[in-house]
Symmetry: C2
Subunit: 343 residues, 2 copies
DNA sequence: ATGAAAGCGCTAACAA
DNA sequence: TTGTTAGCGCTTTCAT
């Protein structure tokens, strides 16, 4: 430590003294206010640079009652979908000099609730979130909204909360996925899914059911397998069990890790994909293309969803958007690969 | 909005008025100070709960000159290594009620420098970072340190900055990776790497060279291929070119996306892995196991590196650690899979 | 055990 | 165009 340690912290008072001006003038000059002379502005800027002045954000936030900070609340981060979404959000907020606090709920309602209640402190100006899968009571969300902090949901939304929502059409995507398997020759298609989280998973299940129904196929309940929402070997066991008993020739996996578990299960049972079983999955892994065999996917536009969420949030924060809450449905994309090829 | 909109914001003054106490007493009671009576504490807590009091963090941070917030500065987030590291960091800071601001440098020195300079504002109490690959001038980092904010590096560290560092032994890992290929029968091993970022990549390159040298193999410079640090098709072209001309029978890929590019390049050239070319890669993708064929990896303990970084940072913040900066080397793990099997 | 008062650093009326 | 002043909401001496 040569110079510039904690003691000689330079603030507006320092600058004011240095230039024999008032802090008010400094403040205005730094924010490029119209009623400060060009020459003064120059002097202030120069001094600020020279003395390494950095404004204290807490003082500023306290005074302005706003923080240029948003919260991103998501279940997990080591998940390609959410990571890409964060990238999308960041692409919008970084140029605006906003900052983002990350909160991981680990899909736990309690944690989510306590995080939301903390945010009522005014720590952030707005929130972008994807709710935990076991969130049923939404009062913590409504309470935060009542403080005037705008919330934008993406992907995992709360049906009974009025807020902007960015989603993909899960019903339709599942319908298309299932139809794709039917067209590839499957006669006995199972859905492998996880419990909880109605707004997405049940939509996917409905789409799956509808596609079968529209093709005159009745679903025995055994066609739907519910796994745990963890990437673990237990799921592989459940899937193996199902493959051996129900003998499906097609699998729709509703989340990423279920496809990898399905691959492992097939491998252990010596079932060939796609000859014995065809697999399609909702996912965002860029590596899906080089799985063994390449996995047919329903790809959610994660980056763009994040980007849209941030744009709408900024619209609200700036007052540019004052219309009633909107629900934006973004298209998913079916990318056919070898895991569903007909022969 | 039924109740509780912005106007009736409840602060300490509200509580004080409600209970006919001073704000000083409220403040102490809420922080469970010893010189407040039990009964008073109860009353204060009850009122706080009843009126939904949430302390204003900006006022508190301003007054205390500390924020219970840290910055996590990383090149990318849609990268399994960094995501897992964030998880590790979060596992330590969340229980301590700390908050984390995420900054993505996109591997750009300019962005990194401007982010660091912003942090001199006192926005955060400490920083955990992995530096951009093209960062050479480290003055922005030293400047921030001089303000008294502790910085802990992980993975991508700055050699010439005195700070705590959490790294893996890249030299040794590359040595082991290369030896593994030699033991699997490779005679002509190439290193596929990216430019920039000396502390890690050059260590990996050195380890690769040493392993070859120790086995009496001279490296023609063509054995080292430098790609761009983007996941793109251009790299696939570069790798194809190299595979066709140098005809290596073994590839050490220094970063994740180069392995996937190598897979694609081999596929396009109809080269079979591992029969024609064996591949090993530094990575953290959980899906490596189900690639086609399963990819042999050198796995960095991403989660634990993040966790350690956070623990050391907290040690500094709390004054528990006052020793000179330490460099913690964490072991990588070689996981042999089919992409390097001998036949 | 409780309270009065000062002030963290900044911003925004309002005055000059 | 610049300055004065009064806080933002909280914490912390120092009194009482």
């Amino acid at each position: 430590m040569t110079s510039g340690n904690k003691s000689d912290k330079v603030n507006m008072k320092t600058l004011a003294a240095e230039l024999k001006l008032s802090t008010a003038t400094i403040s205005k000059a730094l924010r490029d206010s119209y009623d400060i002379g060009q020459e003064t502005k120059q002097r202030v800027m120069e001094a600020a640079r020279r003395l390494n002045y950095v404004p204290n954000v807490y003082a500023s936030s306290l005074r302005r009652q706003s923080s240029n900070t948003i919260a991103i609340i998501i279940p997990e981060i080591a998940d390609s979908f959410f990571s890409q979404a964060i990238n999308g959000i960041e692409s919008i907020i970084a140029p605006e000099k906003y900052h983002s606090l990350i909160y991981l709920t680990h899909d736990d309602y309690q944690r989510e609730a306590s995080m939301l209640s903390d945010l009522a402190s005014g720590r952030v100006d707005g929130v972008i979130m994807s709710v935990a899968s076991n969130t049923e009571d939404t009062s913590h969300i409504k309470t935060l909204q009542e403080t005037g902090i705008p919330i934008v949901f993406f992907d995992r939304v709360c049906e009974d909360v009025n807020a902007d929502k960015i989603i993909t059409d899960d019903f339709n995507s599942a319908y298309i996925a299932t139809s794709h398997l039917l067209q590839s020759g499957c006669k006995n298609i199972s859905l492998i899914t996880i419990s909880g989280f109605p707004s997405i998973l049940s939509a996917r299940e409905q789409g799956y059911r509808k596609a079968l129904a529209d093709n005159g196929i009745t679903i025995e309940e055994t066609g739907i397998v519910t796994c745990s929402n963890k990437y673990n070997t237990e799921n592989v066991g459940i899937i193996k069990e199902h493959l051996s008993t129900a003998m499906p020739d097609g699998i729709v996996a509703t989340v990423e890790h279920l496809a990898t578990s399905t691959y492992l299960a097939c491998d252990e049972l010596k079932l060939k994909i796609p000859d014995d079983v065809k697999v399609i999955c909702f996912t965002n892994q860029i590596t899906a293309a080089i799985l063994n065999p390449p996995l047919t996917t329903i790809l959610q536009p994660a980056y763009d969803m994040g980007k849209q969420a941030a744009e709408i949030l900024f619209g609200r924060l700036s007052g540019r958007i004052i219309t009633t809450e909107q629900e934006l449905v973004m298209p998913s994309q079916l990318i056919a690969r070898a895991s569903t090829s007909s022969n």
